[in-house]
């Protein structure tokens, strides 16, 4: 920092050093506060800039002396010097008392300077900052409203706890000041105070005063109050602070017409958080907001667009007004593109979102997105993106002509993106594919290295979209084999060679040439090479045996890369055990890639639409991805539509699309190509059974530990789905929802099955079922089961994050229930759960919680909370979980009890289709703490007498009749509390059949 200051000083001196010296010499003549008003530039030129040059040693002492001078002018000079030093980063906190002494002045300029100093240093000198309090309090009573406002404004900026206490009274007065200037300043001050001490603000009732200000007569006061309330509300997501109802909305809309441009932004941003009750209200708000689209301030325009985009969701599509509104949105969006480049950039990022949500708005405006030669690169790249999104059969000729033009520009990134765009056009507009391919071939002829490589990468995608159509170009591609030096291009080329190996005469030679430097290639290329050679081998087995052995040994023996080795081994085994299967697997027909490319995942898109104009819309990330703390972590959603024909793309069904609809396959961006290539080669997971290892290694105690690990391992490896993609560094936001979740769910089941088969003595625990579907819980899916392990009841859950943002802060609570189940400890989710991640938790339960009889008896109502919201679900536990270990009755006691319980309490049930003999049944039941006390055989019928005890001390006695050869069992239950019989019977059935 010191270095900084010196540099600063030198600059000024070397530049006009001589001048400066002269000025300093004549300081007395050109007093800084000359009463020149019009030509103030000259007046100040001779005064202010010199402060930046004073950095001599011992200067602090000089300043100290000057600050304590009697002459007012000298004092002011000194304060300016102090501020200048502060600006360049020099520590002048030592002067604190001296500067504060200058505070008592009637010179407003000096006062402002001192305040500035205070704001910077008060926090480091809290004790001395108290010295300033008196002046502040006095200034808050000043007759001049400008001074009152200044005092309250500054005081709020001094973040010292002791001061805040003194701030309350003046603030209260200022909030009710007669002058609107003071009130609008005080409104913001409440937000400042809340940031320092939220509790204090609530206790003092400032929030209510702030709410009252929404009805203030002055529009600027209203706007600032709205801004302050919105900010405070953000840190209390669930409070009803910004109580938006039709009355307040009306007030806001009235103020909207009258306040400054900034105020309009605050109000519009606040309006966007409101959800109208019905389409009529929605329309009336839209009607009052649309005039804002003609405002000169782009931020007002974009905030208005946000409100309209959101409320439009509620309008029925067949409404005339809906069409009018769509038409009205286009011109202002286009106008934003004639703003300054920085604003254009923000506008383009937002248009990108709008075009994805409602393509109809800008479909006729393609031309305005044509790139201008002098556009900054960031504008060019964004325009290109939107051009592709808007490309359609109607305009494709124009678009292609433009793209070809761009491919000859200078900026490498831009050129690459243009080439890539041509490929995307080919995939998107089928009629243009031929023209695109020929354009790409033209570009390859230019021999510009990066153009050629990019073209090859996109041609690979075109092959995947239109297989067996453009193979004639392969020859041209092969000519450029040597110039490819980027992994992505090499991998693409190798893929093409492998895929069409049967039509390329020298495919083996080509691939062999790559094999020479196998170890120097990147993993991406190595993996692709391995697959391509295996493909080649399967197609031309006779000539290429040597080659395939070479690559397999390179991949398995000489490589350290686990992915490569694994894939090598898989191929190896496939080839050696069952070449026919290998053919089916490796040469399987690939799914076609669809036209929609790089789309933002629908739920994220919805959230981003609610954040139009903000940073989130610029980054295309939800606020939680870049904002720390609780602020902005709230997830915003579009309101559901009231309209008739709109349900098809309404948000709710959209989020459930993962299961029901066929999700679009997405062309991978560079980052996750690797993951994609891997997926390509793997067959659906169901064809390969679970490896035998897990079940044998399964012991009761180790179950949980292994469970989590294995589950995710299995899910990742075989499913090749989300976990895999994430593992390869694909950005989570770019992860398409293209893999149906049931894949991993199925594996869970498989696994569970394996688990229970492997331990006949274990307690019965039902397979996991989905308790809370993701669509009901903002992306959180909970599946789970109950189990009794080593005498402890456990609730075992898999929490899966299907939303696009991280989930943290999990907690759980139970409603009162029949057996007093309650969590024995907090929910142990130590790490945040990332998107598409799942986590396994076992929650030990106690039975000492509050009791309330539920219907059905074993119903359990659960509330789970995370950083997003609180969710409720209910589940039923098997009553067998409550059977305690010491449930074995003495024979005598059993007999006595059996007789003692009245026959009315006896219940008899049939268990059908059970094929165990009585001994197996007995041992199976024993695993779940159902103890067989005696066995009697009467006329080929086995009678088992059994007892069990529930956690609350209720005994249940049972008689199980098993007849050899008859799959139907009869069970009679006797219990003093006959309500439980039905549940126990159900448990019996479940235990015996699993």
């Amino acid at each position: 920092m010191k270095a900084d200051v010196d540099v600063f000083a030198n600059v000024t001196q070397s530049k006009d050093g001589s001048k400066n010296r002269v000025w300093e010499g004549t300081k007395a003549i050109t007093a800084p506060c000359s009463p020149v008003t019009e030509n103030r530039q000259f007046g100040s030129k001779m005064t202010d800039s010199k402060y930046f040059t004073t950095t001599k040693k011992g200067e602090i002492f000089e300043l100290k002396a000057e600050l304590n001078s009697d002459k007012k002018e000298k004092k002011k000079e000194a304060v300016k010097k102090v501020i200048a030093s502060m600006t360049v980063g020099k520590d002048v906190s030592a002067l604190f008392p001296d500067v504060v002494n200058c505070m008592q002045t009637d010179n407003l300029e000096l006062k402002k300077l001192v305040y500035l100093y205070l704001m910077n240093y008060a926090k480091s000198q809290p004790d001395m900052a108290i010295m300033a309090v008196n002046t502040f309090v006095k200034d808050c009573e000043d007759p001049n409203p400008l001074i009152r406002a200044l005092a309250v404004r500054t005081m709020g900026c001094i973040r010292v706890d002791k001061i805040t206490e003194y701030l309350c009274e003046p603030l209260r007065k200022c909030l009710k000041d007669e002058d609107p200037y003071v009130r609008k300043t005080a409104a913001v001050c409440v937000a400042k105070l809340h940031d320092i001490n939220a509790q204090l603000v609530e206790d003092q009732g400032f929030l209510d005063t702030l709410k009252d200000l929404i009805s203030d007569s002055n529009p600027m006061v209203v706007a600032n109050a709205v801004a302050a309330l919105s900010e405070i509300a953000e840190s209390h997501p669930n409070s009803n602070l910004l109580d938006l109802n039709p009355q307040t909305i009306n007030k806001l809309l009235t103020a909207l017409n009258e306040c400054t441009e900034w105020g309009q932004i605050f109000i519009l941003d606040c309006l966007a958080n409101y959800t109208p009750r019905d389409d009529r209200e929605s329309q009336s708000i839209c009607e009052r907001v649309t005039p804002r689209l003609s405002h000169a301030n782009s931020a007002v325009v974009l905030s208005a667009v946000k409100v309209l985009m959101k409320f439009m969701e509620m309008l029925p599509k067949d409404l005339d007004y809906y069409g009018t509104l769509l038409k009205k949105l286009a011109p202002p969006l286009v106008t934003l593109l004639s703003a300054e480049p920085e604003l254009q950039y923000v506008a383009l990022r937002n248009i990108n979102l709008i075009v994805q949500r409602r393509p109809e708005i800008l479909k006729h405006e393609m031309k305005v997105f044509f790139v201008k030669y002098n556009d900054p690169i960031y504008v060019k790249l964004e325009k290109l993106d939107i051009m592709i999104r808007l490309a359609s059969q109607a305009n494709i000729a124009q678009v292609l002509a433009e793209l070809k033009e761009y491919a000859t520009e200078v900026d490498v990134d831009f050129v690459r993106k243009a080439v890539r765009a041509i490929g995307r056009c080919a995939i998107k507009v089928e009629q243009s594919a031929e023209r695109c391919v020929s354009t790409l071939l033209d570009l390859i002829q230019t021999k510009v290295n990066y153009v050629v490589q990019e073209a090859i990468v996109v041609i690979k995608d075109i092959f995947r979209k239109y297989p067996n159509k453009y193979e004639s170009v392969i020859a041209t591609l092969c000519e450029n084999l040597d110039s490819l030096d980027e992994p992505e291009a090499r991998a693409a080329m190798i893929w093409i060679v492998g895929e069409y190996a049967e039509r390329i005469d020298n495919a083996d030679e080509l691939l062999e040439s790559f094999l020479e430097g196998f170890h120097d290639e990147s993993t991406q290329v190595q993996l692709q090479l391995l697959t391509a050679i295996v493909k080649l081998f399967l197609k031309k087995p006779t000539e290429t045996q040597e080659l395939v052995q070479q690559v397999l040994s390179l991949a398995t023996q000489d490589s350290d890369n686990p992915d490569l080795r694994d894939r090598g081994y898989i191929y190896w085994r496939l080839l050696s055990t069952d070449p026919v299967a290998a053919k089916e697997v490796v040469l399987a027909e690939k799914p076609l890639i669809s036209e929609e490319t790089d789309l933002i995942e629908p739920t994220l898109l919805e959230e981003l639409i609610c954040h139009i104009g903000t940073l989130a819309s610029v980054y295309h990330k939800p606020p939680s991805a870049f904002v720390e703390g609780s602020r902005g972590v709230q997830h915003k959603r579009l309101p559901g539509s009231a309209g008739s024909g709109e349900s098809a793309d309404s948000p709710d069904t959209g989020s459930a699309a993962g299961v029901s609809e066929a999700p679009p396959a997405v062309i991978p961006s560079q980052g996750d190509l690797l993951g994609d290539l891997l997926n390509l080669d793997l067959t659906p997971p169901t064809t390969s059974g679970p490896p035998p290892a897990p079940s044998s290694g399964m012991q009761m105690g180790a179950m949980d530990l292994l469970g989590g690990g294995l589950d995710s391992l299995l899910g990742g490896d075989l499913g090749g789905s989300p976990a895999m993609g994430a593992g390869f560094g694909a950005p989570p936001t770019a992860m398409p929802a293209s893999f149906p979740p049931p894949v991993s769910g199925g594996l869970d089941d498989l696994f569970d099955l394996g688990g229970s088969v492997g331990m006949p003595m274990g307690a019965y625990s039902p397979p996991k079922s989905i308790w809370l579907p993701a669509m009901k819980a903002k992306g959180l899916e909970i599946s789970g089961t109950f189990a009794r392990r080593a005498g402890v009841i456990q609730m075992e859950m898999t929490l899966t994050n299907k939303a696009m943002s991280i989930m943290t802060d999990f907690a759980i609570q139970f409603n009162r229930n029949s057996f007093g189940l309650a969590p024995a400890g907090p929910l142990q989710v130590l790490t945040p759960v990332g998107p598409n991640q799942s986590i396994e938790v076992a929650l030990p339960l106690s039975t000492v919680g509050p009791v309330m009889k539920m219907e059905p008896l074993t119903n359990l109502q659960v509330a789970v909370k995370n950083n997003i919201d609180v969710f409720y679900f209910s589940s039923q536990y098997p009553i067998s979980m409550l059977f305690v270990e010491d449930g074995k009755m003495e024979r005598q006691v059993f007999l006595a009890t059996w007789k003692d319980i009245p026959n009315d309490n006896e219940a008899q049930f049939q268990i059908k289709d059970c094929h165990l003999n009585s001994d197996a049944a007995s041992s199976k039941l024993q695993g779940s703490n159902v103890f067989t006390i005696a066995k009697r055989t009467v006329e080929g019928q086995d009678m088992l007498y059994q007892s069990m005890k529930l956690t609350n001390g209720i005994w249940v006695l049972a008689e199980l009749r098993v007849q050899a050869g008859n799959p139907n069992y009869t069970v009679s239950l006797k219990c003093r509390a006959p309500e439980v019989s039905q549940c126990v019977f159900q448990s019996y059935e479940a235990m015996l059949k699993n």
Partner: protein
């Protein structure tokens, strides 16, 4: 909201730093810059320096060209704009309204220019106290407040208020103006002569293919006014907007509609100064307002239909062997012959390996500028319906650069005394019921200037 605002010179040295929120500069950022470790840590100021330095290291001193005006470094977002060689950066840790931040930065530049002219290092240093004072006023806790220069100048003068303690009325006048509904105009303005200057300034943009096909063309126009009017006048502005004319045509005779309909223009979109009553425009499409005093931009608009393209550029490029290019460019003026275009400049790009250029032009002066890789042909004046031509022989050094020359488009600059969009001012009425001057007493001046925006022809 905005957490802090910094102004840097081109070297990345801080000229102004104003921090509004504590959250910026903490954590994360520390690791990214080495400077801090050398200095003795001082708690409060240090925290702020982190953000300051992170921006310097990652943006100003970045090796690559800036790829985005918004940068995220360690969860802190930096917005920047550059004016000559001064960087203005706004910093935040929250999900702020990005559009607003940029609009604010531009506004900040406007305000500073209005106070002390050009934004240069010299001027910023000279006026740092003033800038701090302004920053305190127009940004409170990161929320932009009234930033109309007219209003600000009434109470931020750098003179201190001590000299002439204002009366209570004056004070409340100031505050009511700053917060009031008409924040852009103060009461009690008096002129002996009521005058209005209205300029229609248009810039016409064109992108044309070598074959003369219009790829895209639009006019972005501005109506800029200077008003010297007494009191609180109510103004009404009318132009040949197609929608208005058609509407009137329905009411009046069809003959009149046909007559005026010919001259009316279709405006794609327009935006207005905040003084214009937008709701009135939305419902009646009439432009009514109480004007600010002095200079301001009343409206901006954009048209794409029936644009008069003042010039047509016809390029002819022929490659003669590998070392020679022949270029012939013809320009034709396409407007009434009684009008004169001015400041015409045609810029013909040349390849990087140009070694020499021979030029022959019929009119004006042409020069090859090696440093700009272009032939610049200048003509002072040119009447309508004329044409002129330049031919050039460009000699090239032989290169083995595989890469083809990108052939940037030929661009053109000019100024014409009409509005290429066809916009005409129909009326500008002034009403001031309280003072006794009428619409007829106001002297009004109207002027049309059409300039080239990005006017390019590919070759």
């Amino acid at each position: 909201m905005i957490g802090g605002l910094f102004i840097y010179n081109h070297k990345g040295e801080v000229l102004i730093s104003r921090v509004y929120r504590d959250d910026i500069g903490e954590a994360g950022l520390k690791a990214e810059q080495p400077i801090i470790s050398r200095s003795v840590p001082k708690p409060v100021s240090c925290l702020k320096r982190n953000a300051v330095d992170a921006f310097r290291v990652n943006v100003i001193h970045a090796r690559q060209q800036v790829r985005s005006p918004v940068t995220n470094i360690a969860r802190t977002s930096f917005f920047h704009v550059k004016r000559s060689n001064i960087w203005l950066a706004a910093v935040t840790k929250q999900n702020v309204n990005a559009t607003m931040v940029f609009e604010f930065l531009y506004k900040m530049c406007d305000v500073m220019s209005a106070y002390f002219g050009k934004i240069s290092e010299e001027n910023v240093k000279n006026n740092f106290v003033l800038i701090y004072e302004l920053l305190d006023e127009i940004l409170d806790f990161g929320y932009p407040q009234n930033s109309e220069t007219g209003a600000l100048k009434t109470f931020i003068t750098q003179q201190g208020i001590k000299s002439q303690v204002p009366t209570k009325e004056e004070q409340s006048q100031i505050t009511s103006q700053v917060t009031g509904q008409i924040g852009w105009r103060r009461e009690g303005i008096k002129y002996r002569r009521n005058e209005l200057f209205l300029d229609v300034l248009e810039s016409v943009n064109l992108l044309m293919s070598p074959q003369g096909q219009v790829l895209s063309a639009h006019v972005s126009g501005r109506v800029v006014m200077k008003s010297y009017l007494s009191g609180m006048p109510e103004c009404k502005f009318g132009m040949n907007d197609k929608i208005v004319i058609d509407k009137q045509g329905k009411g009046g005779g069809s003959e009149e509609a046909a007559k005026s309909g010919k001259q009316s223009i279709a405006i794609d979109d327009c935006t207005f100064h905040q003084c214009v009553r937008l709701s009135k425009f939305d419902s009646e499409r009439s432009i009514s307002f109480i004007p600010p005093d002095g200079d301001y931009e009343l409206m901006r608009y954009r048209t794409t239909k029936d644009i008069i393209l003042p010039f047509r550029v016809i390029p002819l490029v022929r490659e003669v062997g590998r070392t020679k290019l022949e270029v012939k460019v013809v320009i034709k003026s396409n407007f009434k012959s009684s009008l004169l275009a001015q400041k015409i400049e045609v810029r013909i790009p040349t390849p990087l390996n140009t070694s020499g250029v021979q030029l022959i032009c019929m009119k004006g002066k042409a020069k090859y500028k090696a440093s700009e890789n272009a032939i610049v042909w200048k003509i002072k004046r040119m009447a309508g319906m004329k044409e002129s031509q330049i031919s050039a022989e460009i000699e090239l050094l032989p290169t083995n650069d595989k890469k083809k020359w990108a052939r940037p488009p030929i661009s053109m600059n000019f100024e014409v005394p009409f509005a290429p969009s066809g916009l005409k001012v129909r009326y500008l009425k002034v009403f001031e019921p309280k003072l006794n001057y009428s619409d007829h007493d106001v002297i009004k001046w109207v002027r049309y200037i059409g300039r080239s925006g990005i006017y390019e022809t590919r070759c």
